[in-house]
């Protein structure tokens, strides 16, 4: 027993089964956090074994440790800057050669290493037998066969970790040899680095990074022109000797090494692997034949998320409504009314709002886990890539955008399927423009009130279409301004099809549900209470006869009503008055609240019958103003839950603020233009 907590990082390629193995090792005891300033997540979990206390850090899946993507930078930061006590690399045994490329970089880092030879079962089925003992001998590190999907090898791996941590001296892998030319260059650069700071265990790694021309490594050396000079000369010489960029020469050597290791440790019993997977892809990944299946799968995902989620959502809403009523009934009449109101209309309504998203989020992530674990997600991305590329997005953006038609909140959480930060933020920022289900009650109230029957259906479709067109335009705009840079070429790995495991799907689903509750719940609740306060204070003096005050007058008197009046000059150009402004403030809680709020400002009982409200609206506004209302509610001010999850998922308030104010400004400009031009045309 050492009495200290060891830090062990888990590295590996995407699809190598890293996260499953991490879950096997840590059980349910782990937490998910965003790396500061990035959209990349890390999982940390604890493992106690043999009296040792181990903190396991699950790094993002990467093919290498260069600094080209956020994922790679995060993995690299953990390994280079924090230097964990040990690295466990999870290798996909059925794709050993490619996976070993990352191993060569981990070896260069000079950290103690343990290999988990994962999916040995799949490898054997596909005709590859890997000799773990031989591999271990060749690389000089322990190699443990595991089958993450079945939880096999977890105990052996944990034991190997503990043994490696306790070993004195710690097991260091045998260095990769890069051939005389490169080795000489490494020696020179290492000497130049060591000159001023002394030899460090990762000096070989740093020398290689510099020779490869890694931007981050070169930037770190900016203040040392003499060392940079050594690097430049070594690079020039390598380029002259090898006739290619040093980075390529090094990569070729790495693959030379991995193919040598593979030849010695892996035995190929059959020619190619995933042949049946290839046969399925003839069909599913086919640019024409695959489309119907793609559409069906996307429809199934949408239906699973929202159809199946409808009932539980109703139960939750009814449950919270019932609790609120029960409190209202049992509350002693006339005593501390304001506390009752805070409890029922503020807190319980707020908590209810938070929880009511849960069924959709859980089901959506179950669907995403099924897509991801089965391998279909990569095919879906491949098929939608050409379409999404036109608006500068990745094929996978299709999924969050589709989910956005149901609800923006789970859709923003679903941007997680995107790996690239630019893609993720662009998708997140345009998502509120996709007309979600909560906008429907607004259209359903206004369209029949103002438009003849033959125009109603096209009007409704029109609203959805306007949203899509605006989303595309804003995406294009973002790509030309904030997220500039040429489109990344499509390079996509298609993992073999696999049967998802129930355990994996459930783990994913509950993890996401918990993350949502922990991260977004407090924010949504706080805003609910704030909105309640805005609509409650200051209060009207109680009428002398003791009758309850008129809700419409009370709302007009409240801060929300006053804000509505104060911003009226801004609303005028769009054809709105203060009443619409006040209703919009309430609608920040959720878009559909707009309808109920309009009911209150027009002094109508917020009953189910919207007939009288429609009549009042008809008298107060023109069809043009009604259209402008819908347009504004479509584009402007995403609801508070959207703002909250955008803040959490993007990792900063800046993006949430940009989304909120940017869209509101866009809505104002657009609606003003429509109203003013409309008035000129109709002569209103």
């Amino acid at each position: 027993m050492s009495g200290r907590t060891w830090r062990v990082a888990i590295a590996g390629n995407p699809n190598a089964g890293k996260t499953t193995l991490f879950n096997t090792l840590t059980g349910v005891r782990h937490r998910v956090a965003n790396y500061p300033g990035t959209t990349v997540e890390s999982r940390e979990g604890r493992l106690q074994r043999d009296g040792e206390e181990i903190l396991l850090v699950d790094l993002p899946g990467t093919y290498s440790l260069s600094s080209y993507s956020d994922d790679e930078r995060v993995a690299r930061h953990e390994l280079v800057q924090r230097r964990p006590d040990l690295v466990v690399q999870v290798l996909d045994a059925s794709n050993l050669e490619r996976n070993l490329y990352l191993t060569t970089q981990l070896i260069d880092l000079g950290l103690p290493l343990v290999l988990a030879l994962n999916m040995s079962d799949v490898a054997e089925q596909s005709g590859v037998r890997v000799d773990a003992i031989r591999l271990s001998e060749l690389l000089g590190v322990p190699a443990i066969p595991t089958v993450g999907r079945r939880g096999e090898g977890g105990v052996e791996l944990a034991d190997a970790i503990v043994r490696a941590l306790r070993a004195e001296p710690p097991p260091r892998p045998r260095p990769v040899r890069y051939g005389d030319d490169i080795e000489r260059a490494i020696g020179e650069v290492a000497a130049a680095l060591a000159g001023s700071e002394g030899a460090k265990p990762d000096v070989r790694w740093r020398a290689l990074q510099l020779l490869e021309g890694d931007a981050q490594a070169l930037a770190a050396l900016a203040g040392r022109p003499e060392a940079l000079g050594v690097v430049e000369r070594a690079r020039d010489r390598l380029r002259a000797l090898g006739g290619d960029s040093p980075a390529m020469l090094i990569a070729e050597r790495r693959y030379g090494f991995t193919s040598g290791v593979c030849a010695a440790a892996a035995q190929r019993t059959a020619e190619t692997r995933h042949t049946w997977s290839d046969r399925v892809d003839e069909f599913l990944a086919h640019p024409v034949l695959g489309v119907p299946v793609f559409l069906a799968v996307m429809y199934a995902m949408f239906a699973l998320t929202f159809r199946l989620g409808e009932r539980p959502m109703e139960w939750i809403e009814r449950g919270f409504g019932w609790v609120g009523e029960a409190i209202g009934r049992t509350w002693p009449a006339g005593r501390a009314e304001i506390v009752r109101s805070l409890l029922v209309d503020g807190v319980i309504a707020g908590v209810g709002g938070v929880v009511s998203f849960l069924p959709n989020i859980l089901l959506l992530f179950a669907a995403i886990a099924l897509l991801e674990d089965s391998g279909y997600l990569a095919r879906a991305a491949l098929l939608s890539d050409r379409l999404m590329r036109r608006i500068g997005l990745h094929g996978r953006s299709f999924i969050p955008l589709l989910v956005g038609f149901g609800c923006t909140v789970p859709a923003i959480l679903a941007t997680r399927v995107l790996e690239n930060r630019r893609d993720r933020l662009t998708t997140m920022l345009i998502l509120p423009l996709i007309s979600c289900g909560a906008r429907l009650p607004i259209y359903a109230l206004l369209i029949p009130a103002f438009f003849p029957a033959r125009l109603r259906a096209p009007m409704l479709w029109g609203m959805y279409l306007i949203g899509i067109v605006l989303a595309v335009l804003v995406a294009l705009l973002l790509r030309r301004t904030l997220f500039r840079g040429g489109a990344e070429p499509l390079i996509l790995e298609l993992p073999p099809y696999r049967l998802p495991t129930l355990r994996g799907v459930l783990a994913h689903m509950f993890e996401r549900g918990l993350v949502y509750l922990r991260k977004a719940a407090t924010l949504i609740l706080a805003v609910s209470v704030l909105l309640w306060a805005l609509m409650t204070f200051p209060r009207l003096p109680a009428p002398a006869d003791g009758a309850p005050p008129d809700p419409s007058a009370a709302l007009a008197h409240s801060a929300a009503g006053r804000i509505g009046r104060a911003i009226e000059p801004v609303l005028r150009p769009m054809g709105f008055d203060w009443r619409i402004g006040t209703a919009m403030i309430g609608a920040f809680a959720a878009k559909e609240v707009f309808v109920a709020q309009l009911g209150i400002v027009f002094s109508l009982d917020a009953g189910d019958d919207v007939g009288p409200l429609r009549e009042r609206l008809q008298r107060a506004y023109s069809p043009l103003a009604a259209f402008c209302m819908m347009l504004f509610m479509l584009v402007a001010t995403p609801c508070m839950a959207t703002v909250a999850v955008t803040r959490r998922e993007s990792g900063s308030w800046g993006w949430a603020a940009l989304q909120f104010f940017g869209l509101t400004l866009l809505a104002w400009l657009l609606t003003t233009a429509v109203y003013q031009i409309g008035r000129l045309v109709t002569g209103g």
Partner: protein, 86 residues
């Protein structure tokens, strides 16, 4: 080794022009430093043997190499030269 040293006789054939079913050796990638490194991490380095699975109109090229399957966009497949294996 580079293309010159290998003394290739089949210079100039693009991966984007290889018919489905062809087995070829990657010769060179005409791309920036960043992109080449990204591709290299996936196993696409000069000298690697790959198998063309699909080639369809303007769509992506599907290839098999080592144990993995990769989809490459037209743009990048048009910048990769290949030769027939020795």
């Amino acid at each position: 080794m580079n293309a010159v040293q290998r003394g290739d006789r089949h210079l100039g054939r693009l991966l984007a022009e290889c018919p489905p079913g062809a087995t070829v050796v990657l010769q060179d990638i005409e791309a920036g430093h960043r992109l080449r490194a990204r591709i290299a991490a996936l196993g696409l380095v000069p000298g690697v043997r790959l198998h063309v699975l699909r080639q369809h109109g303007r769509g992506p090229v599907l290839i098999a190499l080592h144990g993995s399957r990769l989809a490459l966009g037209r743009g990048i497949a048009e910048r990769m030269t290949v030769r027939t294996p020795a």
